[in-house]
Amino acid sequence: MRRRQYWGWIFVLPAVLFFALFSYFPIINSFVASFHAKDILSLKAPKFIGLQNYIHIFTSQDFLNSIKATAYFAIGCFIPLVSISLVIATLVVGLRRFPKIQNLFKMIYYSPSIVSGVVSATIWLLIFDPRGLANQFLNFLANNPTPVDFKWLALPFMARLATIIIYFWKYVGYFVIIYFAGLVSIPTSLYEVAEIDGASAWRKFWSITIPLLKPTIEFVLIVAFIACVRTFSIQYVFVYAGSPREPINVISLNIYTTAMTYHSLGRSTAMSVSLFCFILIFTIVQLRIYRSERVSYV
């Protein structure tokens, strides 16, 4: 037994070392750097300044605006992502009698999630261009006699909406697949029994599907929230394409700008640590809530 453990350690050691070098070390380094003043370009040693970076960011209008921008984005994206992907997954599961069509829909919904965020945003920039498909489509729907420019990239509200649309388009398929896996694991016998008892489709959904899908829903809620709060590449592409920064200056983008434009490694790492702590606390709270609500009909 001890020999097996010994060899087990040998074989996991490379992965542990890799993770330690490229994940744990940067995390600890960031935490330490957040208490120092350091210019990214300077060769001088970092100067310890205690909590000054944290005080600065939490009293600066810029970071508070980033929190607001992140909140708008996260709420605007999170709710449709977790709810609509469940609806789509339920519909796709309903195509079980047509496996080829079912697989086709799974592929269609999932394929945007394998495209990188930068590529997705670049493609959508063309769609949201004043002469692009988005304006043409809305003008067609509204039957406008003269085309209206909805200023997808220019107006603050539209820029926020555009980034939410792109993110939703990109990740809805990912969560559809996760829900799909959860849905097909629910025994069909439970639905048959409910049908015999005269339950309606809606009743079956609420009393069987949702309770038994709770572990999957829990996973989706946590992953979706973390993903929405950590969004970066879409906002980056938009800002560098000329969109106003303030409405979409999410925390991750602010971290990047603080380091790369303002050269302040200390403040950018303080923002990173703050974001990490927020996500950690939120995840712990969510896990505690869901742990008490497990259901089993077996």
Partner: protein, 429 residues
């Protein structure tokens, strides 16, 4: 067997760690490899690769690896490389971005022995006075010029004639006239612009926008350099101008449209005027030669009540050498960049880049270069671009100010106030 396997695994891990942690060092003598990073420019690539081949033939122990990246991302790429202490031996970015490398002692001063001058002063004397403004620091020169440039307005004469304007006389001399001329040239379908009459060279605000404020007497900093001055009446007026120009005003253009300079060359009815440098002519020649006869260049407009006669800022790209490279590499790097910089006639003739040595100014190539006279005349009254170790940060703030008034309907006075707070915060760091 198991013991041997254990030893093998541990050895592989240690070897891997050594590879990761090892920092390769060039030999003090022997073959030298120069890593050169520069921004994309197909015309310059062809010329520099030819010069590199010649240089390598003359210096067989030197190998040059040339890599390019688009002009905006390369700024971050170089910054990241220097932060990681894995930067190229030679690089170039605009003077306003290079300055922080000089002040931060990340680049080396020019090797006088290589360039053959007894002092930096005698070197300066062989060039136009403005040439080394972006590379001279505490008496030393930290870069060799690749180009010293200003911008003027490129005009598509066909579109002028289409709307009944004469491109020789009806081009806008003032910013106030620009609004009306651009309006005549603009084509819209409803609110959607399909052809812009004119648009600015976003996001290079230090180049084109700060000079507009300078024309009205505005400056970025106070005279003592200790405080922001972007809330003056001059700045508020210029910001109001941008608000009037933008999508919420007369809807003539926006930072969210494709950069005007990029589409101008195509002559595809997307833009009638753009801001660019002398090099743009050679780019049009390379991309769309039939379009050339329909192109003219006019001076940068001034405000009607301008107190200063500024065109766009003069700026430069300098070949710079990494101060952390070994002495042998630095020497070879200066030799190569001096070789580039000494081919000023080819730079001007083939790619429209001006290295303003006095030697060049006497040549027929310079005197006969199409539109060079427009650029030279405008350069005569232009200021050099703001070089300050926080220059790029100021530009970022100014970009936000302009976006606020153009896109977010923020009042110019409020945008100026916010800008002042941010710049003062940068200065206090």
């Amino acid at each position: 067997m198991k013991f041997l396997s254990t030893v093998l695994v541990i050895t592989m891990l240690l070897a891997g760690a050594a590879l990761v942690l090892a920092t390769p060092q060039q030999e003090a003598a022997g073959p030298v490899e120069l890593m050169y990073w520069t921004h994309e420019d197909p015309n310059r690539t062809a010329l520099e690769e030819k010069l590199i081949a010649e240089f390598q033939g003359q210096n067989p122990n030197v190998t040059v690896v040339r890599e390019t990246a688009p002009s905006t991302p390369i700024i971050e790429k170089i910054l990241t490389a220097f932060a990681a202490r894995n930067a190229p031996d030679i690089f170039n970015i605009g003077a306003e971005n290079e300055w922080q490398y000089i002040v931060g002692e990340r680049v080396a001063p020019v090797d006088l022995e290589v360039v053959g001058y007894s002092s930096y002063k005698t070197m300066q004397d062989d060039y136009l006075p403005v040439t080394f403004n972006g590379a001279l620091y505490e008496g030393k020169i930290y870069g060799l010029p690749m180009e010293i440039t200003n911008w003027c307005i490129y005009v598509n004469n066909k579109y002028y004639r289409e709307v009944g304007l004469d491109p020789a006389t009806d081009y806008p001399k003032t910013w106030e006239q620009m609004l009306d001329v651009a309006e005549k040239l603009t084509i819209r379908e409803g609110e959607v612009i399909t052809r812009r009459g004119f648009d600015f060279r976003y996001p290079y605000y230090l180049n084109f926008f700060v000079p507009m404020a300078n024309q009205l007497g505005g400056t970025v900093l106070t005279a003592d350099g200790k405080s922001a001055a972007v809330d003056s009446a001059a700045w508020i007026k210029v910001l109001q101008y941008m608000a009037d120009f933008g999508p919420n005003g007369r809807n003539l253009g926006s930072p969210t449209y494709t950069n005007a300079r990029r589409t101008f060359n195509r002559d595809d009815n997307s833009v009638a005027m753009c801001i660019s440098g002398l090099y743009q002519y050679d780019r049009i020649k390379a991309e769309n030669e039939p379009f050339l006869p329909y192109v003219s260049v006019v001076p940068y407009p001034r405000f009607q009540n301008a107190v200063n006669d500024n065109g766009t800022a003069v700026y430069g790209h300098y070949y710079m050498v990494n101060a952390s490279s070994s002495p042998a590499v630095r020497k070879a790097a200066w030799k190569l960049t001096w070789y580039f910089s000494n081919h000023e006639e080819e730079f001007l003739d083939q790619i429209g880049l001006t290295i303003p040595s006095k030697k060049l100014l006497d040549t027929a190539i310079y005197k006969n270069k199409k539109f060079a006279d427009v650029f030279i005349d405008d350069m005569a009254t232009a200021d050099f671009i703001m070089v300050h170790e926080s220059g790029p940060k100021f530009e970022d703030v100014i970009e936000e100010m302009v976006q606020d008034v153009m896109l977010s309907n923020v009042a110019p006075a409020e945008a100026a106030r916010k800008g002042k707070v941010k710049i003062n915060d940068i200065l206090s760091q």
